[in-house]
Symmetry: C2
Subunit: 367 residues, 2 copies
């Protein structure tokens, strides 16, 4: 493992002070910003996340804000998901595709009002695509990256902790909805969402001056809940089948290949730039698709590149994320597999850095 | 200093094997890819670069390729530099701006042919902007990221080493020109360019299978030249005033603020999307501009965030890159300073993590 070199270009966040004080050990870089990956250890962080409550600095989920009369039209141009039924107060997971149907990002769209949206992005400069489209089509809309920093509260005790800080009514926010809640006299967007399967919330902190006060309020209120600083956990997210843009999919992949066909309404998503390119795959289905895959043997080494998958001596896919799962006592993995070999139970061979291993296509993700 | 967590999303390069074998100690992430920052130490690497020759894996300088009848028109839409006089075989440093004149990238454009260009990019997903513009304006052009990986050979002995591997005629390539040279029967674009002031070349390696053979050929031929693996060096680049996108400029800045007005022909760059927004600043000049700044005292700590600059008690700018220079026995720095305080010799106060220090605006960069 190598060190990471500090520079302004790898942006700090409004919560970095808290993350450092909590003893962060490793980072990744995501949207040109630091994202913690380990506090105690990946395994210790994992057990804690599943049993208690964690506060995550996910400022890296930068927002692309759309404002103006053409905001809704632009939002629909970006995605094959039909947004006509989406009301303000809702969050939609939206595949974003280019004119070839290739994935550019897999963000959550937050509809603040008919003419005001946030796109809470995965790791790519989606702002550049959206600005280019808005400019090229001469749309009447402002597009920028506001100073909004999501703070996630995740884990089985998340609701209890949030209720203590933001009031009992935060319990009534339903999954992928948001409400406005007050903190020190300011309104905050708080959604029931987050990049784990343990339940929880994301607080869209609208300016730097509120960041550490909210962070500190959560830690002060949660001492008896064993609250800790945390971060998206590699084991938990693979067990739960939460895909990672750049890891499990790139702009080479259609949403259908990524198993995101259920978030596409390709027939009715009129206006989507990639719609024509996706009509055929939407009808006939993809020839390769993301699958849950178990890899035999002891804990695999870090998965820092694609690991080829072979079936009958031919290359039939690749592993893109893999790690040992203590709870399921196997190596859990995410991979892309061709349709000839994607049936549940199919045994494949996986070329890992320490040799060939048996890999088995699973009926679904673990959690 | 924290560790960096490996994942496929932080892409390895075709030279990673060589970089690791050479004992890389630290990385940064640049265009979603690993870029070495330290081998022996920043200072040892610096002295070596200035005296010998280094081979740099700069695959992170990804290419955006434009191909087709509208390629030249699209290229001109992206930049306020007038490209009409540019011939095939030339490289131009081109500020890229959005419709507000804000910098989106500061790449080198490589004109392969009238209808085929590479844009060798700094750290932002420029591909997304270019694809959005091409789509929105319905241009007849293909835009993608080819599998091209630049390998830089830098330092005073670079020409000698390159001549040994690619033949004597490589000596005739002039600054910011390129030629085609053969290696194992394949044609390579080799330009006299690179992100140092020590002179050298960049080899545009067009596919993975050639990467390690070229790397190994350079090391085999350069043993008596004391060739080593290296990387862009923080000290050398600040001494030389080589700006870094994301560090010394962002999309908040115009090219003129970045001191890049000499690369802009705002009057004549008809077709540039940001032209209208830049006409006034091109005529009247910017109100703040990048400056070389010396910071008094011992070696400053790592500059991982902006350090405010004060003059007469008011904030008048910020430092964005700073490091101790052994050769100039001072802290060399790059900062943005308001016009009221940018005259050479002006004494400012700089708020560093370990206290206020005197900072002096320099007449120019050091090297």
């Amino acid at each position: 493992m190598a060190l990471i070199s500090p520079s302004r270009r790898l942006r700090r966040t409004h919560f970095s002070e808290g993350v450092e004080a909590a003893g962060v050990k490793s980072y990744t870089v995501y949207n040109h910003m630091l994202l913690a990956t380990v506090f105690e250890s990946v395994e210790a962080d994992y057990h804690h996340l599943k049993n208690h409550v964690q506060v995550w600095d996910v400022s890296v989920e930068r927002q692309v804000e759309l404002r103006g009369p053409d905001a809704a039209r632009l939002m629909q141009m970006l995605t094959p998901r039909d947004l006509r039924s989406m009301l303000p107060g809702r969050c939609f997971y939206v595949p974003i595709v280019d004119e070839t149907g290739g994935m550019l990002n897999d963000p959550v769209a937050v509809k603040l009002a008919e003419d005001r949206w946030w796109i809470s992005i995965a790791d790519s400069d989606l702002l550049f695509w959206v600005k280019g489209i808005a400019n090229g089509y001469r749309l009447d809309v402002l597009v920028d990256e506001p100073d909004v920093s999501p703070l996630a509260v995740q884990g089985p005790k998340a609701e209890e902790l949030m209720a203590r800080v933001f009031g009992e009514s935060v319990r009534e926010v339903r999954f992928f909805r948001f409400g406005l809640f007050e903190f020190q006299g300011r309104d905050l967007v708080i959604a029931r969402s987050g990049y784990s399967k343990q339940g929880g919330y994301e607080i869209y902190v609208p300016s730097g001056d509120l960041a550490m006060p909210i962070w500190n309020a959560l830690f002060a209120a949660g001492e008896d809940l064993n609250v800790r600083a945390g971060c998206p956990n590699a084991i938990e997210r693979i067990e739960g089948g939460l895909l990672s843009y750049g890891n499990d999919m790139t702009d080479d992949n259609t949403p259908h290949e990524c198993g995101l066909g259920r978030f596409c309404d390709t027939q009715t998503a009129i206006g989507c730039i990639g719609r024509d390119a996706l009509l055929r795959v939407a009808k006939e289905g993809p020839v390769q698709q993301v699958q849950a895959i178990a890899i035999d043997g002891d804990a695999v080494p870090p998965c820092d590149r694609v690991w080829p998958l072979f079936g009958g001596g031919r290359r039939v896919g690749q592993i893109t994320s893999a790690i040992w799962s203590p709870d399921f006592s196997t190596n859990v993995a995410i991979g892309m597999v061709r349709m000839t070999h994607w049936d549940s139970g199919t045994k494949l061979e996986c070329e890992t850095p320490d040799g060939m291993r048996v890999a088995t296509v699973q009926p679904g993700f673990w959690a």
